[in-house]
């Protein structure tokens, strides 16, 4: 092997680990640690509220560009996620929640692809658990309110048109999958994709940095990993938007399932 192409024997490449995603907190109040994630969440609230209030600052029959953009975003969530899935009669009370879920997750995910910020808030599981918890409590509460506790449990655990004997097996399985695994995967789906995407980006970036720092011909290879990193970056943007859509869509589907009559 050519000596110029040989990697140095010592100080080889070490891939970034999970621990490097836990940045040190900015300041601490007792046991409460205020970190970058929390700052980003506050920033996202300011950004979303600011944008939509700015977009509707002047109501006009012929909308300005900003108003059009705001209305298009609102209309998308209202019509495609609310009306089409929950149904014409029932969707109105859920619009605020659907709207908040979609834009909160969208903006927080996109923070992962904005230089300098570059950290998807939901790559820490805590915020994902809270979001999925709000969704879970909402659809279970609305389902129980509509059908009563017994009726709701029956809907969730007893699929229709099955021989009675099979219920011995089906009730525990359905209970587990509908009422326990469902909220857990609802939270973990958005967390895991953000976490994995951020980690993949970190690996590509640190690999590029390491290869460039090699004072030999091998630094040319860094072009390959840089291209890979850019590819992952754009793939991440796609996934970030898709995950915000899927989270909101699943919430709408769960609400619809809890509300519908009969089986």
């Amino acid at each position: 092997m050519n000596a110029a192409l040989r990697l140095p024997a010592t100080g080889g490449f070490t891939a970034p680990t999970v621990d490097e995603m836990h940045l040190p907190p900015f300041f601490e109040l007792g046991t409460f640690e205020f970190g970058k994630q929390m700052l980003l969440i506050l920033l996202s609230v300011v950004l979303i509220a600011g944008f939509f209030m700015w977009a509707i600052r002047r109501h006009a029959l012929v909308p300005s560009k900003a108003q059009y953009l705001g209305e298009a975003g609102y209309g998308f969530v209202r019509n495609h996620l609310g009306r089409d899935i929950i149904g014409e009669k029932e969707f109105r009370p859920y619009i605020p929640l659907l709207f908040t879920f979609f834009f909160f997750i969208l903006v927080n995910n996109l923070f992962g692809s904005i230089p300098v910020l570059q950290l998807p808030t939901l790559s820490h599981a805590g915020s994902a658990y809270v979001l999925a918890g709000i969704a879970y409590v909402t659809w279970v509460f609305m389902g129980i309110k509509r059908h009563g506790l017994g009726g709701f449990m029956g809907k969730m655990t007893m699929p229709p048109d099955v021989p009675k004997l099979l219920y011995i097996f089906l009730i525990p399985i359905e209970f587990l999958s509908n009422l326990i695994i469902r909220p857990v995967t609802h939270a973990l789906r958005v967390f895991a994709t953000m976490f994995a995407g951020h980690l993949a980006l970190m690996v590509a970036a640190s690999m590029t940095g390491y290869l460039i720092s090699q004072a030999s011909l091998i630094s040319v290879v860094s072009v390959g990993s840089a291209v890979l990193g850019i590819f992952i970056y754009f793939l991440e943007i796609l996934i970030q938007v898709l995950q915000a859509y899927i989270f909101t869509l699943l919430f709408a589907v769960y609400v619809q399932g809890a509300l519908q009559e009969g089986h």
Binding site: H80, I181, L188, R189, A192, Y245, L249, L250
Partner: protein
């Protein structure tokens, strides 16, 4: 050779999810190719089915980090 067995475990867990998601998208494309106007109805179903099938792969991913 050193490394983590849970990475192999997650690779195995991803096979099932990969096949399932592939089948769902294949069926979706075929339906839309045969009947383009069904796209609006099928698209939410597509993402719902995709999300449900993906759940197993997600559980595998998390378990790989916990183990």
């Amino acid at each position: 050779m050193t490394g983590s067995l849970s990475a192999i475990g997650y690779g195995l867990a991803a096979i099932g999810g990969g096949i399932g998601v592939g089948l769902i998208f294949a069926a979706y494309m075929q339906s839309v190719a045969r009947q383009p106007e069904s796209q609006r109805v099928l698209q939410p179903m597509l993402f719902f089915g995709f999300a449900v099938v993906e759940a197993l792969a997600i559980l595998g991913f998390v378990l790989a980090f916990i183990a």
